[in-house]
Symmetry: C2
Subunit: 355 residues, 2 copies
């Protein structure tokens, strides 16, 4: 039976990326060696990093003066690297979910943090829009997609100060105006590569302006200077990322990814709104295209476990909602096919017929 | 032609680890999903982390009261995590090579550092033995094997204060008395797994004693509390590490690895000492079993490029020495077979006959 992988992360990757990674693990570039045992200084591997960086810049239309870094440690490590590198006195944060809250917690160790708005009191079911951005803050930090609560900022907002964004879960799903940001970061394990890789897009001249001591590995300048090769990068995930970037380009780039994301999300939300058994959890205007959250409608709450079993038996994987929201979450990242979304919709319709 | 992988790191791994990782990337545990796209919270993955931790403890005979952590960021990130977590006022460091020096540089950002001895003036060709360890320091940091210069501390030294050790390149190559250390860390990419994974063995009650603010991701307590699952761990390298740990156990554990390491190193050093063309670079009593460094003997210096070409044509990979030493370096980690060492020796003998 075909499995439909709706995992929130690590999550679905294009099948050819998976198969070509497996091939390279058995034999990298016909070298007789595995991708797992080649030196990162080997002459075969530098082109991998170079091409990945170039495709990143091409696909996201990144202006001159920015670097793309491939690091380890995850987006959670960036929560402290961002203030380490950019926070001199004061920073502004928009609190839109669990990950935004974690970023805020870390930043508080480094200076004054202004939480300009929060939807915490409504279980993060919407993106706050009424706020004032302090013009004397060093940066505004946003989390563009909230994996757990299923809300998303699908357009780059305007800000009088430079922005920093965690785009772990929506990178490459739409065009971005990178010039609005001094730093965009994310864990690779949603839309790019297997877990263990962090991407960072950083504006070169924004780095090095803080007066504190920054440990070498936490200093973006270290990685800019060395082209992500200061220490051994996560070789296998970097290679898989390159394969995904090639796939993205071949599919038509981020505009095509956005078209597909809209198509998939529109189909699934339409079914959630139509089906008497289900109801969406996020405010309609802030609904995420990446993580589509829904619960059983009133009157049908006791069917939750039954639907999970019903859908799982039909090949749906990873649709159980996060405990903070309950119900269901269908993560529809770039590699998710329309066919899998239709299979889930079919499950919802079949289940409705039984009740 | 068979390739003999003498890379210094990332480096050779057991062939079955490579093949079984490739299989899991195509289909993990018959789940119909790739290892690259399963959730780290999936019920299939927790047993991977649990078994890896248990085997780590069993193979190294780790006493009660220690945790084994699987993190990202590399040993270079540990250079600052160690002082973040353990350095209150003063720490002692033994300067035995490039990596020790980098660890010292990072620690200086956190407190007073006593460099108890250094072999820097002799291009790190030996391990200093005459030093006094200050009893009022928080810890003594050592680098047990020096990948670049080919020296190794093959026995746990005695210290009046707790030790911290970077064992990136010799972990699992001999039994260790873990009780002498509060922390043993290393990049996995030599003897354990593909790049992108850091292992940390940490004594639980040594953590949490410093007064400084420690960012969440840099605090060992975070990862002890969450069993390495505070954020998404590097799933593929963790799985490969489990396969290597199973392999180590099946082969006879660290005692057997030590026997093989001695056997391989003895064979190769004997040839270096016998062959008129070559000479070893490290002091005999400190010769590393893991990284065997040699240069052309006086009178034959101009044959260096020729021998590199000669050996490369016969399948020897990664034997070019680090630029700090020159000449050649044959890294003989656990997965390196005696047959490959004999093939290199054969090259050296064949080349000698030509000159």
């Amino acid at each position: 039976m075909k499995k439909h992988n709706f995992n929130a992360g690590p999550s679905i990757l294009p099948r050819e990326v998976i198969e070509d990674t497996a091939k390279a693990i058995l034999d990298f570039n016909g070298s007789g060696l595995s991708l797992m045992e080649i030196s990162h200084r080997a002459k075969d591997f530098q082109p991998v990093v170079d091409e990945a960086e170039a495709l990143f810049k091409e696909l996201l239309n990144i202006p001159e003066g920015y670097s793309v870094l491939f690091l380890g440690g995850g987006a959670s490590l960036e929560f402290c690297m961002v203030p380490f590198n950019f926070l001199e006195k004061k920073a502004a944060y928009l609190n839109t979910g669990t990950w935004a809250k974690k970023a805020i917690k870390e930043a508080k160790g480094f200076g004054e943090i202004i939480e300009i708005a929060s939807s915490a009191d409504d279980n993060y079911s919407f993106i706050p829009k009424a706020y004032t951005i302090p013009t004397d803050a060093d940066y505004l930090h946003i989390t563009t997609n909230n994996t757990i609560f299923g809300t998303e900022m699908i357009k780059d907002i305007d800000s009088p100060i430079p922005m920093v964004a965690d785009m772990s879960s929506d990178i490459f799903s739409r065009p971005i105006d990178v010039s609005k940001y001094i730093c965009i970061y994310g864990g690779a394990q949603k839309n790019l590569a297997p877990a263990g890789l962090t991407f960072v897009i950083v504006k070169n001249d924004a780095v090095g302006k803080v007066s504190r001591y920054v440990p070498t590995m936490l200093n973006y300048q270290t990685h800019i200077n060395s082209g992500s090769m200061f220490n051994t990068p996560p070789v296998v995930p970097v290679y898989s990322a390159l394969l995904t970037l090639r796939w993205l380009k071949a599919q038509g780039g981020v505009k095509e990814m956005e078209r597909r994301a809209i198509e998939k999300a529109t189909l699934l939300y339409a079914e959630i709104d139509r089906n008497k058994l289900f109801v969406g959890t996020a405010a309609e205007e802030d609904r995420s295209r990446m993580n589509i959250c829904f619960v059983m409608n009133s009157g049908y709450k006791d069917l939750e476990a039954d639907f999970l079993k019903f859908a799982t038996e039909r090949g749906m994987i990873g649709i159980k909602g996060h405990r903070s929201v309950g119900g269901f979450r269908a993560s529809c990242y770039n590699a998710m096919s329309k066919e899998s979304v239709l299979a889930l919709i079919n499950c919802m319709q079949e289940f409705e017929k039984l009740h």
